[in-house]
Every structure is written in C-alpha cells, then in structure tokens.
Symmetry: C2
Subunit: 444 residues, 2 copies
C-alpha cells in the first residue's frame, strides 16, 4: 500500500486534470452559493437557552450544545479561567474513499458548503457526517457513500482512528478518521471529484480550500515515503513515550462544567455571548439558506473566533531525516490531559494584554521568519459547520543553517516517522499538528 | 535489552535463592504484621462525609474520596445503574528498579503490607507511591528509591506508561507504570529483595503473593521473547486498530457524578455503604496499626467487594504463535470508553439474579474447564490500599484441540506480540488483562 500511495503522491495530474478540477470547483461554488446571515438568538428555530442553566441547545438534545466550563491548569500564563465551550459527545465519521483508476490511487473529494466558511464551498472528505446526520435525526436525505465506511471490507481500511478537534472550543469532541479503498463500482456524483494524492498535496497550498476535516483524514494516511530507519531520530520511541507520559503527569488540569449563564467574565446580549474584554470568541446565531443541504434552510449557533490564529512548526534535518519541534499542549477539551501541538499555536490578539514574559514561547521567532525559511505558509479554515470564519495561518519554518533551537521541558524534536507512528493512535497529535503533518508530507 | 531480559527470564535463581526469598518474606511478614479492624464511620480520623453531598473524603481533600456515579451504557445486560465509586485524580508512580548483578538483570521488589491484603505483606514494586505519599502530605518519611523514577537517566527507561485501574471501582484512576535500570550504587534495604525475571515469573503462581501493582508493571516490560514475525497473527495491526476504533464508537456510555447520599439502590449504615440487595461491594472503614508505615497508625475507608472475581483468558496457538481472545469492555471509570479485557471478567455472584441469556459470554465454558487445559490458575489480590480482601481467580485456558471458539463483535483473537505492542500505549488493556499478559508470558 505504501508503494501505491507513493505512486499517487508522484502524480500531479490524474483522471481529473487540475485545470478541470478548478472548473468543477467554480461551478460547484456557484451552485451551492449559501446565504448566511446573523440573527438574534430569539430567532433561532428549534434552538434555545435552557431555563435553568442557560445552556444553548437543540430541542431534540441532538447535534451539539454550548455549555460553560471552569478550568484550572498550570499550562500557560493564566492559571484559572471560565469559558463557553461546545459539547458534542457524538462521534462522527470523516471518511475518504480511495480507488485505483488507471493504475493510480485516487481520492474521492467532495465540494461541500458550510455556513461558517469564508468562501462557501471547500474541499471535504467523501463523507463528513455526525451521527445525527447519518442516522437522519433531522429527516434529511441519506449521506452518500456512507456504507463504504460503516461496513468496510476487511483489509481495505488504510486508516481508522479517533482524533480530537480544537480542545479550546470543543469539550472532548472526537471524530473517526477513515480512509477506505473501494472498487470500480463506486462512481463520483456531481459534488464529488477523484484526485491523486499529488494533486491534494498541491491543493493544500491554496488558501481556504482543503477543509479541516479533509486535512485531518489525510494526516492519518500511512506513511508512503519513509526514508529513515531505526536509530535515525534524535530520540528513541521509548524516550518520546517517556517524555509524553511525564508531560501528562506533570500538568494538573481540572475542569468543571458550569451553567452557561454562570460563566464569569462573559455576558450575553440579544445576538452574542461575548467575553467582557472582547477576547477569544463569541457565540452567535445564523440563518442559512442553501439549495444543497440535506434540509433547505435552517438556523444554528456558531462559535466566531476573534482574530486569526497562528500554527507554526519549526523543522530541521538531522542526517537527512526531517524533524519537527512539537509542543506538549494542555487544552481543556482534550480527552487526555496533553496532546502534541505545533511548536507555536495561538491567536496573538488573545495574548496581547499579557507581559512579554507571558507571550507564547518562540512566537517572536515565528513572526520574524524570513521568506526563504518558509516551507509552507497558507491560511486555512477550521470546521465551518461549527465555527464562523475561523482561519489560521499554518507555517512550516526550516531552521537549518540557523542557530539551533533547543528543547525546553515541554518541547521535543520528533522525526516525521515518529509523528506518523503516533498518528496511528488516538489523542496524540492535536488537530492543528495534524494539518501541519499533512502539509509537511506535501512539501518535504 | 530484549536479550538481557530473556536471560533474566531463564534464570530461575539469582543472587537471592528462591529459598532465601521465602525466608526473607516470612521474616518481613512477622515484622510488618498489621492489625486492621473494622470501625464505624464516625470513628474515622480526618475522614468524613461532606454535609452537602454525603461524599466521603479526607479533611485535606487529598488521597481519595468516595463519590456517586450514574451510568448509562449499552454494554452488558444492565442499561442503567448508579453506584459509589472511588475518585483519586492523582497519578501515582509504580516503579520497579532493575540492576545487572553477576551479568543478569535483577528486579528490586518490596515486601509491603497494605490494610486490605488478606495476608498482610505482598510483593510490590520498588516504589508504589501516590502523589500524596511522595510529596509527603501526611508528613511521613521519604519514599525510598523515589529519585530513580523521578529523575531517571535518559536511555535507561524500559517502560513508562500511564495505565488504568479497576474501571468499576475507580473513576478515571491511572498510575504511571515504570521500569528503570539503575547502577550498582543502588542497594536493597531490609524490606527489598533482588529477584530475576525467571523467579518473578515463578512467584506469579503463588496465591496472593505478587501484588496488583507489581503485576501491572511487569506486564509493561518490553517483550523479551518475540518469536513471531509480521503476518503471523490472525489479524493485522490495522485490522485490530480498526476494530478497537469501531468498539469505541459503537458503545454509548454516559456517566454523571451524583452526590454519594443520592445514589439510588444503596444505603448507608453506621459502618457500611451497601447495595440494597447486597450485591457488588460495600464501602467500609478500618483502623490500621502498623510499625512499618510512614505514619504509625491511621484510619481510612476501603472498598470491600462481595465475592471473588474471575478473570479468564482463552488462548490458542495458530502456526505456533500464541493468541488470546480479548473482550472489548466498557467500564464506567475508564478515561476512554473501551479497553481490552480478558475473555471473561466478572464476579459471578453479581450476575446470579439475571436470566441465563444475560450471563457473561463464555462464563460456562470457563467454569467447565478441565484441569489439563489450565495453563494458569491462581487467586491473586487486587490493590490492598484501597480494596479490602479483593481477590480474583486468574485463569489461562488453552482451547487447542477443542472446538474453535469464534469471535463475536466484541471479541478478537490477538497475538501476544500485538498485546505487547498495545501495552506501550495508555488505556488499551485493562488491569485484569495486564495481569493475564504477565502470567501468559510466565507460562508460555
């Protein structure tokens, strides 16, 4: 399978030429043009505030809800805070179908609009469905291609692992990331397009195109170009496991559910729940009109971040082997205490009021990087079904030829192969780090 | 390291002859004879019931507390119940020091008494310390050998992984399981003894001798006798990962904290919190007198199980490669939904009132096993610092030469190597399965 993936990665064109892909995408964007408008909370249909707790939820209790969370943590500069957070206990499926066409593996990608996307349609996995979607709680149409993932043929599963999503915005949310090989009977519908891995790797460089769900699934693919053997990494696997265990034990994180109405430092107006100093994000409500969705028009809450994020990975080559500097991060919504994140991950505006010593480590280095060291630098969108205009600048920065960047207690240089091994297990790399692994494999 | 472990496993005697070991153990048992007596709750010193919740805790808020939990789950015959449960958010260290003596690795084991042990002293890891112990909250003496585990030399760590404990009795409890190689400067104190892996493997067959903490640490040792190569297992690693992901998604488990005073179906008397039909366990209080503990005499609550448990593993050889039938289990206290348990794990008395169809799968087969098929059959104790007289019959049953035992949706045959690989990660095998892996490696 690794050789077949490697072949697909070398193919920069496939049954769909990249030119034809962009034509198709433009056509889909026209067809699925969505109208998303802000509305006051009391115009939400089937969503409302619980009279006791003030939690914002759907009348059926399904989909997701917005609750309150109090956090005590020794990670970062702020030891204690409270915040709204999205609770979505259902595990959804993010699945990409792959099929051999003309001897080359192609990936079935979907043109999908989401209400929070800055540009309407982005490129998503073949299937991107919450359990409420695929059990059709809202009585919509069936999810295309779902069966390929609910009953995959044994031996044709390339990846199948639960992975976390934004731990600052989601409480213990996880999705099932799957890649499944299918046969020639599976054909692309109008909203779908077969692309090679080489094409996808190129498209990752386009702003706001490959959506978050597609990126995390791609990151879980088996490694197709392992060049390093045992002993070529700076740390052995055992050393990395030991360090990760240590990080999980060292950090004390205590979270406690709060009624949303009782979250200190936040207030609710007619159309937003906002931080008193305007930092972090707001909870807002929107009405969405669309021709393509399972249901014709609907309203829902979204989390709207304030300011664009940065997720930056420092990389270097040691004896030819790519290494990335990973940061063991605490985020309150993680199932386990700690996952590995990028070297730097933050929304700078949220830290602007803090002293210089309390700024995220290495943020200055990242912001001062010269063009020549930037292996990857693209603004990409986060999940448009839950977040409104959530964008993050993803950067991969080579430090080869510069002063060495030393490890701190919370940071270690891992080889790309070690990252790929960790991605076979749940809860080791956070969603931003997974985007950067997908990007790193695309540009190496 | 694998070759050095294999050599130690072949040595059935070491610097301490097994005869000398038993002499030493008898002497330690005399010296550390403990007096544990049941007392009413109101005779507890520094422990009490919270006036609001009825939770049972220590005045400092440290150590552990007994709380209530409501559980809804689609695993097993009972869809919903409430129960008391032990909350101990602190991660402790369970560590065994190993040292080369006369060219052979020896393990430094401790003779340690615990109030709930049926026989006072059992064989424990070098260090068995909660964070409250080693930060000396109760002002006791320092924990011997702790530094070897708090600041281990890089490259001398054989195992370091967080592992769960009884998910029916503990809420999200985990301990750090460590094996660290030390140098000749480390010498055995009076309560400590150097044993080879071969000796430890033999001692696992003695009733109530190698304690739970020692067994789980031993299970996390690297495999020292891997005979099978890739492709020799019934399922590939990818198939097993896919199945485990599926089990974690299929099962819906919802837990909710309850005030201990409001746990339906349980009642509190002056000296016990008990299930109304007398099933499962009681929460009791004891006074402990001892010469050897960090503090001279103390009182504490214990969880006292009703009836002896069974943990049985069916095994077979496929092309010479050992396989075990693992059961994907839901226990409410797991950090993640599902971990792999033994083929059968239950306390039969807790199920006696249920219909035949609702008995644990394969329990009849296990109970009807003939002597000749039993590779391992020993009653061992669970953690005596929290559980009072908690004993379980651990069985390994060969089904070679019998009718094949088929997999169900919740069960898969895994090779021993696959189990050993899973043990490098947290939260994959539950504590009973880990004892059985240690036992299986001892008898294979």
């Amino acid at each position: 399978m690794e050789a077949r993936l490697a072949l697909s990665a070398r193919c920069t064109d496939g049954v769909t030429s990249t030119a034809a892909f962009f034509d198709w995408l433009a056509e889909r964007r026209l067809r699925h043009a969505q109208r998303t408008e802000r509305i006051p909370f009391d115009a939400l249909d089937q969503w409302g505030f619980d009279p006791d707790t003030g939690d914002l939820g759907h009348t059926t209790g399904r989909f997701f809800s917005v609750q309150g969370l109090r956090v005590r943590s020794d990670f970062g500069a702020v030891p204690e805070w409270s915040q709204p957070i999205i609770s979505q206990p259902e595990v959804g499926i993010l699945g990409i179908a792959v099929r051999e066409i003309d001897g080359v593996l192609h990936f079935l990608m979907q043109a999908k609009s989401e209400p929070g996307n800055v540009n309407g349609v982005q490129l998503s996995p073949t299937v991107q469905a919450t359990r409420s979607n695929y059990t059709r709680v809202h009585g919509g149409s069936p999810v295309p291609y779902l069966d390929a993932f609910r009953t995959p043929e044994p031996g044709r599963v390339l990846a199948d692992v639960l992975q976390s999503e934004q731990g600052s915005w989601f409480l213990r949310k996880r999705n099932r990331n799957m890649v499944v090989e299918v046969g020639p009977e599976l054909r692309a519908g109008d909203d779908f397009c077969w692309l090679t891995l080489g094409q996808l790797n190129a498209l990752l460089r386009c702003e706001d195109l490959v959506n978050m769900d597609a990126r995390t699934v791609l990151s879980c693919l088996p490694d197709w170009d392992r060049v390093d053997g045992p002993g070529s990494a700076e740390h052995t696997g055992q050393e990395i496991r030991c360090w990760l265990t240590d990080r999980r034990v060292v950090h004390e994180v205590v979270t406690e559910r709060l009624p949303l109405r009782a979250v200190p430092g936040w207030h609710r107006t007619a159309d937003a729940i906002t931080h008193d100093e305007g930092r972090f994000f707001s909870i807002v409500a929107v009405r969405v009109g669309s021709r393509s969705r399972e249901v014709p028009s609907w309203t829902q809450p979204l989390l709207r971040p304030h300011g664009q994020g940065i997720a930056a990975l420092l990389v270097k080559r040691v004896g030819g082997v790519l290494h990335a500097l990973m940061h063991a991060r605490v985020e309150p919504g993680f199932v386990d205490t700690v996952e590995l994140g990028p070297t730097v991950q933050c929304t700078p505006g949220n830290h602007a009021h803090l002293a210089a010593a309390d700024q995220p480590p290495l943020l200055d280095l990242v912001r001062g990087t010269d063009r020549a060291s930037l292996l990857f630098d693209t603004v990409l969108s986060e999940e448009g079904g839950r977040f409104d205009h959530a964008r993050c600048r993803y950067m991969i920065i080579s430090v080869d030829g510069r002063d060495p960047v030393e490890e701190s207690a919370g940071m270690r240089w891992l080889s790309l192969s070690e990252l790929e091994d960790l991605l076979k297990s749940s809860g080791q790399l956070n969603v931003q780090a997974r985007t950067l692994v997908a990007a790193l494999r695309a540009v190496r």
